[in-house]
């Protein structure tokens, strides 16, 4: 549904997207994660034909961009959705449907209004809408004409908890019906709950891609607390796992290893009885932070090397 090859966008001397490779298959909810300024929105704008790439190629729905027909068949909601405030919600949807050349008849507009929970407010002017209602209207607009591909940027911004749950269920339901959803978000819990696959982008570069559960350089970790008197011995015993880190107190260690049992056995064999040994499954948030920090540091080193070599 989406294939980006060596996609690059430069604004003057700034590289917003750097040789990005992406492949999004059909029927997936695909998460697009990255810190602010990572190049997510620039990538989405290129996918929708709003800006042109400096180099590289994009294939959207089997067509190579620029292709207005492919972008017209893609439902989208970019950042905070914008509407014509003097028109009602229903009129805005009619305008957008007609702009794209798809049917603006009553049933289709009523369908998307119903799906987004806005049927009751359809006759109100959009200028009276709350941010959450605008967000829902943005989702409704993106679904007009049953597009095979939906590109949505922060779809749950401004929604209350029940609205967030509704939108998540809606996106999952669309994917179940065969719609591919490309979801850009920095709400990591949202991505973890909704997405089948995730791509992480930092400073315009793709640094990780895969199912959320397997994403990242660490899969599990073990947190060990010992008596301060045993801290030195524990540090020596845990040194067999090179990435072990000691907390500031000196009596707590974080061991990057999949089994708490192995860690405890090593301590006991060395004569150290731990106060506690807790195996943790880090959430996507931890892994995301780890990944982005690693990537940012690595890129800074690369840039320093280039400067030194120069």
């Amino acid at each position: 549904m989406i294939a980006c090859s060596e996609l690059t966008k430069r604004f003057g001397s700034t590289t917003a997207v750097d040789r990005l490779q992406l492949a999004v298959g059909p029927g997936l909810v695909y998460g697009f994660l990255g810190p602010n300024g990572a190049g997510k929105t620039t990538t989405i704008r290129m996918l929708l034909g709003l800006i042109g790439p400096t180099s590289g190629q994009i294939e959207l729905l089997g067509a190579r961009l620029p292709d207005p027909r492919a972008t017209a068949r893609t439902g989208s909601m970019i950042e905070e959705p914008a509407f014509y405030p003097w028109l009602t919600g229903r009129e805005n949807l009619q305008v957008l449907a007609e702009t794209g050349g798809c049917r603006a008849d009553g049933p289709e507009v009523a369908r998307v209004l119903g799906l987004s929970g806005l049927s009751g407010a359809a006759a109100k002017k959009v200028r009276t809408y709350s941010q959450g209602m605008r967000q829902r209207l943005g989702i409704a607009a993106a679904m007009l004409g049953r597009p095979p591909l939906l590109i949505v940027d922060e779809p749950t911004n401004g929604l209350d908890p029940s609205g967030i749950r509704d939108i998540r269920e809606l996106l999952r339901g669309l994917a179940a019906d065969g719609t591919t959803v490309f979801l850009s978000s920095h709400l990591l819990a949202e991505v973890e709950q909704v997405c089948d696959r995730v791509a992480v982008i930092v400073r315009g570069r793709l640094i990780e891609e895969g199912p959320p559960a397997t994403l990242g350089v660490i899969s599990r970790r073990v947190v060990v607390r010992v008596d301060p008197a045993d801290a030195g011995a524990a540090a020596r015993l845990l040194a067999r796992w090179p990435s072990t880190k000691a907390a500031d107190t000196g009596a707590e260690f974080v061991v990057e290893h999949g089994s708490g049992r192995d860690v405890n056995a090593a301590l006991v064999a060395g004569g150290v009885i731990a106060e506690s040994v807790i195996a943790e499954q880090p959430g996507l948030e931890d892994r995301f932070l780890e990944l982005t920090q690693h990537a940012a540091a690595a890129q800074e080193e690369d840039e320093d090397d280039v400067v030194d070599a120069g």
Binding site: R45, G52, D67, T71, T99
Partner: protein, 301 residues
Amino acid sequence: MMSLMRAEFRKLSRPLVWGSALTVTCFCVLITWGAANNARGGLTSPRILDVCEQTSTAQCRHVIAAAHATARAAAAATTALAQPGEIGHVAAGMLASLPGLALIALVAGGHWGGEWGLRTIRQLLSRQGRRGMVLAAKWLTIWSAGVATMLACWAVLALAGPLIAAVAGLPSTHAGLLAGLASSAAAIGRAVAVLGLFSAVGTAAGAIGRGQLATTALTAAVFLLALLLAGIATIGKVSPASYVQAWMGFAGNGYLPTNFWSRFGGSGQHLGQLAGLAGMGITAAVAGLAARWRFAADVTV
């Protein structure tokens, strides 16, 4: 394209457009009212040389008679102009001059420049990626707003004109109500072309300015500058303002009720009507090329 046009017309129905059209229509009525009052003032106190006010020499009697005749002729001309058939000249002249330019600048700003300010341009272009078609739709809708306002203005003036003439106490006309209809329709037709030129510049201004205020200001500035240039003898003939004047046939003395243009620059009277039309066409083509070039750039709002 038809679907896109329907969407554009739906968006055009907004308070800014209705308000601007209403203001221009009211302005046309007020101008006609002012002209009728001036004509009545001329009848009651014609312009007579001071030296003749207290004397009754034969020469002064002749001057006074001539002044009264001039005032009666002006009143008759105003009465004739105020009839439904003839008053299309006022609607055409107003809309093909500064009031029409102001209308188009405001509509272009709201309808086209506003897409950038509201950031709805993202939705528009992601659904309709053929940017040339978007420009054409914008140009046609802005133009349509101008033409519709002109026709509404003519309709309102057709009702109000005879009433204004009667209330002002101007002499009744011997011409029929529909006298001058053909020449009015011709003037309206010429004004349609001028509104097309204003709209082309407004569309280009939207693509270049990318904002409501910038679009309005740029549209107005282009033609105000053109009017300034038209007043310069050496280069006035190549100013778009001169092309408009030549095409519309605005008299050099700038008779107020029929245009708000020629008093600001007089080079157009030296051009033929077809030269004016050609100049307008070239100006519109340049505006179209500028719009295409600028609109092809990245949309980052």
